[in-house]
């Protein structure tokens, strides 16, 4: 079933920047994990969710997997441009204990 999810990524040295668009569900979450796995040696992932307004808990479980993968290499995940509802969701799910957040990609890359 089509899920209206797209992503684009850019590599800045060992930092991968992913911009998502659409529903982050099982399919969307898997695509994010796969995109990270494509780039070996990455130790920082900046995930821009400006165009994703809905994330379900299966999508969140994939994001936790991303955090754990980055932890293995002493890396870090930073979320940017979060919708207030998603930010609240991530806070409740405890994601910010292991991941950072920033207002923009630029500030996340600093």
């Amino acid at each position: 079933m089509s899920t209206e999810f797209n992503l684009i990524s850019e590599l800045h040295d060992k930092t991968l920047v992913i911009k998502t668009e659409g529903y982050i569900n099982n399919a969307g979450g898997e695509k994010i994990v796969q995109e990270l796995e494509k780039h070996t040696g990455v130790n920082k992932l900046v995930l821009n969710l400006e165009k994703s307004k809905v994330v379900n808990s299966i999508g969140i479980s994939h994001l936790i997997e991303v955090i754990e993968k980055l932890n293995q290499v002493n890396g870090k995940l930073v979320f940017t441009n979060l919708d207030p509802t998603i930010e609240k969701t991530f806070t409740i799910m405890g994601l910010f204990q292991f991941a950072g957040k920033a207002d923009s990609i630029e500030s996340a890359l600093k």
């Binding site: 079933m1 089509s2 899920t3 209206e4 999810f5 659409g22 529903y23 569900n25 099982n26 307004k53 809905v54 994330v55 379900n56 808990s57 299966i58 479980s61 936790i64 754990e68 993968k69 932890n71 293995q72 509802t85 609240k88 969701t89 409740i92 799910m93 405890g94």
Partner: protein
């Protein structure tokens, strides 16, 4: 080997075992843990011919872990589940030791240990070391499983908190929106989060014809048909304002694919569905309230306009008694009466009723009033006055609006009464001897048609003791709760019966009689009357 020597060597190794345990515990996955354990085994036994195999369940096959080694059926046959945990030591074979270790999650770890690099066989120290390493792996694996379960429990707990929080937020946010499209988008976005649905639909159809009026999906690129035809779906429906709203959820997601929705999902869908209905009702009631407020404002304005042109005080006419009343209904009508002093002992008595109610009726009365004052200054014959007013009202009003109009010009000195009746209820002239005359001469209501049909006037003489009774249809057509009219007959009978009353007293008593007839029924039209009596 001497026991003392063994103890000494094991004591020296204890720190290494501790480090090994910590390394295993830090493993991110079972795969990584197995890889670390393999390193531990190979390091301790100085052998590259050590292989790990994994069996997820009792009935599944053995799978290689971190090894390209091809195992024969004979090799695999060594990994018997008959005596798990037993270490089988074999001499002179490909493998010196074989272990099947049952794990905490009902899976199995198989270990095949071949020859050491120096060609020696496993000695007592190696055998004790193997026992210790197996215990270390078992403990580390249990810790790994506990951590995994703990993470799962924390995730599920957080998920429940999130669900509760989302449900509360959904209720608050849905109640805020007045725009239906935003409301539906928000409801769909929220319900897919609450239930982990892949997609959702709101279908709106006509209750009577069942024809679809609108379909909103989440995500937006999914066709409504694919949601309605999906394998796993739940739905909730409600009817409101002659429309059926059908909320459908499709394919509950898990990490392993999609599954059917559970009872909690159905309850959450019902909750969101009720909230959507409440928001639609609120929106509807707000609209109704604003419309009511608008109508009330219009009615107040209409009442103000009407009351400004109704005379507060009637002129005194020498030798006559005059009284008038306008008792407005709740829904402002377009009744109008007046007595205008024309000078020289002449007075114009006016009674009019605009078809329709509200501000448009009040404005038309206002137009009539202004035109009337203007034309009366020119001392026009009533027929010409009526003709001019007809043309004016015809142009100034919409097709469904017209005015029934009665005018009389009284010469108070002679008692001469020139009258014209443009479609109004007949005026009643009750002679002193009890004879009743109904004055109908005139023509069509003002503004009805402009075909040049001339109005016909009438001239009468009002003598001492005669009474002229002008009224609007609010009196004969006043209804009680059984929808029975007060009637023209009853009004005429009352007029005759109370002929002895002075005009002011008569007006009071006829209004009381009308109200008595109406009882609890709401007054549907203005009650307006003007009585002239020659003393």
């Amino acid at each position: 080997m001497e026991n003392n020597s063994l103890v000494e060597k094991l004591t020296l190794q204890s720190e290494s075992f501790q480090e090994g345990f910590e390394t295993l515990c830090k493993s991110f996955s079972f795969d990584e843990m197995a890889k670390n354990f393999l390193h531990l085994l190979r390091g301790n036994f100085i052998s590259t011919k050590i292989h790990l195999l994994y069996k997820a369940t009792k009935d599944s096959n053995w799978n290689n872990i971190h090894s390209q080694e091809k195992f024969s059926d004979a090799d695999l046959a060594l990994l018997s589940l008959n005596n798990p945990v037993t270490i089988k030591y074999i001499s002179g074979e490909k493998y010196n030791a074989v272990v099947v270790l049952p794990l905490a999650d009902s899976s199995y770890l198989g270990i095949l240990i071949g020859g050491k690099l120096d060609g020696s066989v496993l000695n007592d120290f190696d055998k004790i070391t193997l026992q210790i390493l197996l215990q270390i792996f078992d403990s580390a694996h249990k810790s790994f499983i506990n951590q995994k379960n703990e993470k799962k429990l924390i995730f599920e707990l957080n998920e429940k908190v999130l669900q509760l929080n989302n449900l509360i937020d959904t209720g608050i946010e849905l109640s805020r929106y007045e725009n239906q499209n935003i409301l539906f988008d928000l409801a769909l976005g929220r319900i897919v989060i609450l239930t982990n649905a892949s997609s959702a639909l709101i279908k709106i159809s006509d209750v009577d014809t069942n024809s679809t009026e609108n379909q909103i999906t989440f995500p937006t690129n999914i066709s409504p048909e694919s949601i309605l035809n999906s394998e796993h779906k739940i739905e909730s429906c409600f009817d409101f304002n002659n429309k059926t709203y059908q909320l459908v959820l499709s394919e509950k997601e898990t990490r392993k694919g999609t599954t059917s929705f559970n009872d909690l999902d159905a309850m959450l869908l019902q909750a969101v569905s009720r909230q959507v209905r409440a928001s639609l009702e609120n929106e509807y009631l707000l609209g109704q309230s604003l419309e009511k407020e608008r109508i009330e404002k219009e009615l107040n304005l209409a009442a103000d306009i009407q009351q400004k042109i109704i005379p507060k005080e009637l002129p005194k006419i020498e030798g006559y008694q005059l009284a008038g009343i306008n008792f407005p209904s709740r829904e402002v009508g377009g009744d109008y009466y007046d007595c205008i002093d024309l000078g020289g002992g002449k007075f114009a008595l006016i009674m009019a009723d605009v078809a329709g109610k509200g501000i448009s009726a009040a404005l038309l009365v206002n137009t009539l009033n202004a035109a009337l004052y203007s034309y009366l200054e020119f001392n026009l014959p009533l027929t010409e006055l009526a003709d001019r007013l007809n043309k004016l009202i015809y142009k100034a009003s919409p097709p469904d609006k017209y005015i029934t109009f009665f005018a009389a010009v009284l010469d108070s000195n002679s008692g001469k009464l020139d009258v014209i009746n443009a479609g109004h209820n007949p005026a009643l002239l009750l002679r002193k001897d009890g004879t009743l005359e109904q004055i109908e001469a005139g023509g069509i209501g003002l503004g009805m048609l402009d075909l040049g049909i001339p109005y016909t006037g009438q001239t009468l003489i009002i003598n001492s003791g005669d009474k002229l009774f002008l009224y609007t249809d609010g009196i004969p057509e006043a209804m009680n709760s059984a929808e029975e009219e007060y009637s023209e007959e009853r009004m005429i009978d009352f007029f005759k019966a109370k002929s002895g009353q002075v005009p002011e007293a008569f007006i009071k008593s006829i209004v009381e009689d009308v109200k008595k007839h109406a009882g609890q029924a709401e007054q549907s039209d203005d009650i307006t009357s003007l009585i002239l009596r020659r003393i």
